[in-house]
C-alpha cells in the first residue's frame, strides 16, 4: 500500500510541485495520473521510489516511511519498485538480454558484477521476463535495432525481472504510435491482473487512461483535484483537471513567437 499524508514538495528554484497531497493506493490497483505538463505528475510518482525527496508530510510504502531510509536502505527499497520511462532509458549499444540482466546486478558478487558475468539462473530469469512481454526472439539483438514499442517492452521485461510489487510508469506510451501504445498498455493490464503488481501510470492520453485504469487521479498545479473511478470521469472533471482554456499557452504570445 502506498500512502501520502499531507505531502508537500517545493523545488530549490521555488516551484511548488506537490501541495498537500493525500492519497491511499492499495496493492494491485491500476491507477492513471492525468494532468497538464508541469502539473506535478512526474514528481508525484518519483517521490514514491525516492528519485525525488519530499519536503513535508509522510510517505509510506508497505508500512515503511520512505523519507527515513538511508543509503543502502534506499537501494534495497528500490528493488521492490519498478520504473518505466518515456524514452525507455535502455543501454542502446548492447543486447536486449544484457539490459534485462542489469536488474540482477545488485545481487551479484563483486567480481561477477565488475566483469559482467551473469550466472545461468539469472539468465533464465531474464529470458522468462522477455517471454512474458513476447520478445524472447529478440534476446540477442542489439537494442538500437528495435522499434520504439519493442524497446518499451524490453524496459518492461527489465522491470519484471526485478520482480517488483509496484510499477511506476512515467509517460510510458508518449513516444509511441497509437497502435503500439495499445499493445504496451495491454502488457501493463496483463501484468497488473496476472501478477497483482500495483501500477501507477502518468499519461497524457485521456482515452487510454479511462480505458485501462481502474482509478484516475487528476493533478493540477501540484494538487489532487480528482480521485475516483475511471467510469465516473466526466467532461466537467476533465475541464477541472486541465483548467480553462486561458491557462494553456497561446501561440500569439510574443515570447513564444520569437525565433
Amino acid at each position: 500500500m502506498i500512502e501520502f499524508i499531507n505531502v508537500n514538495k517545493t523545488y530549490p528554484n521555488g516551484v511548488t510541485a506537490l501541495s498537500n497531497v493525500n492519497l491511499e493506493i492499495e496493492q494491485g490497483e491500476f491507477v492513471a495520473i492525468i494532468g497538464l505538463s508541469g502539473a506535478g505528475k512526474s514528481t508525484l510518482i518519483r517521490c514514491i521510489n525516492r528519485m525525488h525527496e519530499i519536503n513535508e508530510g509522510t510517505l509510506n510504502v508497505d508500512g515503511v516511511n520512505v523519507s527515513q531510509l538511508k543509503g543502502k536502505q534506499v537501494r534495497a527499497f528500490r528493488r521492490k519498485i519498478g520504473m518505466i520511462f518515456q524514452s525507455f532509458n535502455l543501454v542502446t549499444r548492447t543486447t536486449v538480454l544484457n539490459n534485462v540482466l542489469v536488474s540482477s546486478v545488485p545481487e551479484l558478487s563483486f567480481w561477477r558484477k565488475t566483469l559482467g558475468l551473469f550466472p545461468k539462473d539469472k539468465k533464465v530469469a531474464a529470458l522468462e521476463a522477455l517471454d512474458k512481454v513476447g520478445i524472447l526472439d529478440k534476446a540477442y539483438n542489439r537494442v538500437d535495432q528495435l522499434s520504439g514499442g519493442q524497446q518499451q517492452r524490453v524496459a518492461l521485461a527489465r522491470t519484471l525481472a526485478q520482480n517488483p510489487s509496484i510499477i511506476l510508469a512515467d509517460e510510458p506510451v508518449a513516444s509511441l504510435d497509437p497502435v503500439t501504445a495499445k499493445v504496451v498498455m495491454d502488457d501493463f493490464k496483463r501484468i497488473n491482473q496476472e501478477m497483482d503488481m500495483s501500477i501507477l501510470i502518468n499519461i497524457h492520453h485521456v482515452e487510454l487512461a479511462l480505458e485501462y485504469a481502474d482509478r484516475v487521479i487528476g493533478v493540477r498545479k501540484g494538487e489532487i483535484v480528482y480521485d475516483g473511478k475511471s467510469e465516473d470521469v466526466t467532461q466537467d472533471v476533465l475541464n477541472n483537471i486541465y483548467g480553462s482554456i486561458t491557462e494553456v499557452p497561446h501561440m500569439d504570445d510574443p515570447e513564444e513567437a520569437e525565433v
Partner: protein, 275 residues
Amino acid sequence: MEETFYDKIFKPKTYTLENGKTVKQRASRTPIVLLLVLVATYASFRTTGADLSLLLSRGHQFFVIIIGMIPPNFKFISSIWGPLFDTIQMSLLGSLAGALVAIPLALLSSSNIIKNVFVNGFFKFFLSILRTLPTLVLALIFTFLFGLGTMAGMLSIFVFTASYVGKLMYEHIENVDMGAFEAHESMGLTKVEAFRYAIIPEVLPTYLSVSLYAFEGNVRYAAILGYVGAGGIGLVLNERLGWRDYPSVGMVLLVLMIVVFIIERVSEYFRRQLS
C-alpha cells in the same frame, strides 16, 4: 530578441508574414570573426619577425640535406633496432598505463556522475594542469628525477596519455544520455554499478578509439624524446645529425617512417572496426 550593439550596426533581416507577424534574423557574425583573424595574423607576423625573404634565400638548403640522405646508409640499420624497440616499448607501455589511469580520472571529472562541484572541479583542474606541461618538458624533468633512459620517456608519455584520454573521455561522458543511468539507479544499483552498466557500454568504443589514437601519436612523440636524453631512437637521430652523418639520419628517418606508417594503419583499421 534583445538588441546588442552589433545589431545596431548590422541591421537584422526582418521577414513579414501575410498576417503582419514579423520574425527577425540576426545578421551574420562572420565579418567580425574574419577581421579578428586578419588582425591576429598581422600581429603575429610583426611580433615573431617572420621573414619570408629568408625562406626564399635559404630554403634550398633543406633540399641539400634531403639529397645528402639519399641513398640512406643501410649498414647503419643494425644500430637502429635496439633504440627503435625502446621507442616503441616506451610509447606502448606509457599509452597503456596512461589510458587505464584515465578511466578513474575521467569518472571523477564528470559533472553528471560526481555531483560535488569541488571534487569534479579539482580533477578537471588537475587534468588541465597536466595537459599544459609539454611532453618534452616532462621528459626533461623525469630525466632529472629518474636518470637518462627510457624510464623517463615512458613516464612522460604516461602522464600525457592519462591527461589527454582523461579529458576527451570526461567530455564524452558528460554528453552521454543519462536515461539508462537514471533507470539503473531507480532499480537500486549504486552509482558505480550504474556507471559500469549504463555509461561504460556507451563510451567503450570511443575510449578504445581515443586510446589507440593517443598511442599512434605517442610513437611519433617518443621519437623526439631522445633529444632530452629520455632514450629511444631520438638519441641516435640527435647524435647522427650532430655529426652531419646524413646517410645514417636518412636511414633512421626511413625506418621511423615505415614503423609509424604501419602502426597508424593498424590502429586506423581497429578504430574503423570500432565505429
